[in-house]
């Protein structure tokens, strides 16, 4: 069988594909540019750059009439906001890249909503308050920020994305947006913000993720 004119092209193809794959695994972000070639194909299949990660078996459904956002804990004036009340607060916009800790990003997302620091001022954190715990309607998802992080000017309670009210998959009616941090900190379907002394360990942090999720120079940012 192995005549003298035989060449191991099959083995070379196998090793070549393996080598290319491992180079891509180690090499990182040149791949993202190549990946953009796929964008039209993915678009046709409904892939818009976002991946929808959930931890419960179904996504929470937003009922406008009954929905409330509760802000309580170590505050002077606990409050409950309905959807209309939330929209009546001063609105602001941020156009920022979204980064997921698993390695994908969505460029230039248009967020609209209310600055978290504005909401904080309205409830008046007590001196003992040092952190915020965000509780999702998607049980058992939750995460937290320090008070200083929550006061950053670009942290939003976003009600709109790319010009439209948040869809169910993106956390309707309101999600937390922290542009400088990975997406897992940005709790979707937020229904309660509790002021606490220390940051509580969130859903993913209990599974090994960092409490401070600064994107920094990762995910292709320089």
């Amino acid at each position: 069988m192995d005549a003298s004119d035989s060449r191991p092209y099959g083995r070379r193809a196998f090793l070549g594909v393996l080598a290319a794959g491992f180079a891509a695994l180690l090499g990182g972000h040149p791949l993202e540019r190549v990946g953009q070639l796929l964008t039209p194909v993915e678009g046709a299949l409904g892939f818009d750059g976002w991946r929808i990660y959930t931890v419960a078996s179904t996504m929470p459904r937003f009922e406008r009439a009954t929905w409330r956002l509760r802000i309580d804990g170590l505050v002077e004036r606990p409050r409950e906001l309905g959807y209309a009340e939330l929209l009546a607060l001063p609105q602001t916009s941020e156009v920022r890249d979204f980064h997921c800790v698993t390695g994908w990003s969505v460029p230039n997302v248009h967020w609209r909503g209310v600055r978290l620091r504005h909401v904080l001022d309205a409830v008046g954190p007590l001196p003992a308050a040092g952190a915020l715990r965000f509780v999702s309607a998607e049980i058992p998802y939750e995460d937290s920020l320090t008070l200083a992080q929550a006061r950053l000017a670009d942290v939003l309670l976003a009600t709109h994305m790319d010009g439209r009210p948040l869809s169910r998959a993106h956390g309707a009616p309101v999600r937390l947006v922290i542009p400088e941090m990975y997406g897992y900190k940005g709790v979707k379907w937020v229904e309660r913000i509790e002021l606490t002394g220390q940051p509580a360990t969130g859903y993913w942090e209990r599974r090994g993720y960092d409490l401070d999720a600064w994107v920094g120079r990762s995910n292709g940012r320089v």
């Binding site: 060449r7 090793l15 794959g21 891509a24 791949l31 409904g46 929808i52 078996s57 390695g103």
Partner: protein
């Protein structure tokens, strides 16, 4: 009275088991993977934790089954098959250049498909394992793991579509499916498509 149809054995039981384990696992992994990956599907189906378990445990079962078949099956035969797939003679190279050249049990395209599929399988397993591990330990979280896993899916999907077309639809080649289901193919078909193999089979001791 018509002549009885002659058949010639093409794929051993081990080869066929390996093929169908791989095929079934791939389809389950593809389905559950797409439901995790495409937003519309993710939204419609939900149940991400369950789908993730299906995806991960199918992958584990797939690898375990492949190891079991190789260990318990016809190892010498499989080793021979691997060697057949690896080596390309002058006829294989001519075939790749689009010329008519007599082919062995596998034509050059089948050999390439097998080699690339095997490499994709290894990469799927490695990148998938890293994704699983990265969720548990940040040290194993690399920026491009997910992209590589997605890319593998696209490449594998293209190969699968071509493979299915040739195995199920294309009139000249679809008889080959019988080889993968029942083990044997019609002698005349084998003589037309894989003459060097049939000739070798009918000359005992020529291997």
């Amino acid at each position: 009275m018509s002549e009885p149809t002659l058949y010639v054995g093409r794929f051993s039981r081990s080869e066929r088991t390996l093929h169908w384990v791989h095929a079934c696992a791939f389809l389950v992994l593809l389905g559950s993977g797409l439901a995790l990956y495409l937003p519309q599907l993710a939204e419609r189906i939900g149940r991400r934790p369950l789908l993730k378990d299906v995806h991960v445990y199918t992958a584990v079962a797939w690898l375990a089954a492949i190891v079991a078949i190789v260990v318990l099956g016809d190892r010498a035969g499989l080793r021979r098959t691997v060697r057949e797939l690896e080596w390309f003679d002058q006829d294989d190279r001519d075939w790749l250049r689009g010329r008519h050249a007599p082919q062995g049990r596998f034509n050059a395209g089948q050999k390439l498909n097998a080699a690339i599929s095997a490499a994709l399988a290894v990469l799927f397993a490695v990148s998938g394992f890293l994704l699983w591990l990265g969720e548990r330990d940040t040290a194993y979280r690399f920026a491009s793991t997910l992209l590589v896993h997605d890319w593998l899916m696209w490449v594998a999907l293209v190969l699968l579509v071509g493979h299915l077309y040739l195995a199920v639809i294309h009139p000249a080649t679809r008889h080959a499916l019988r080889g993968m289901t029942r083990g044997s193919v019609r002698y005349e078909w084998a003589e037309a498509h894989h003459p060097k193999w049939v000739r070798r089979e009918s000359e005992p001791g020529s291997e």
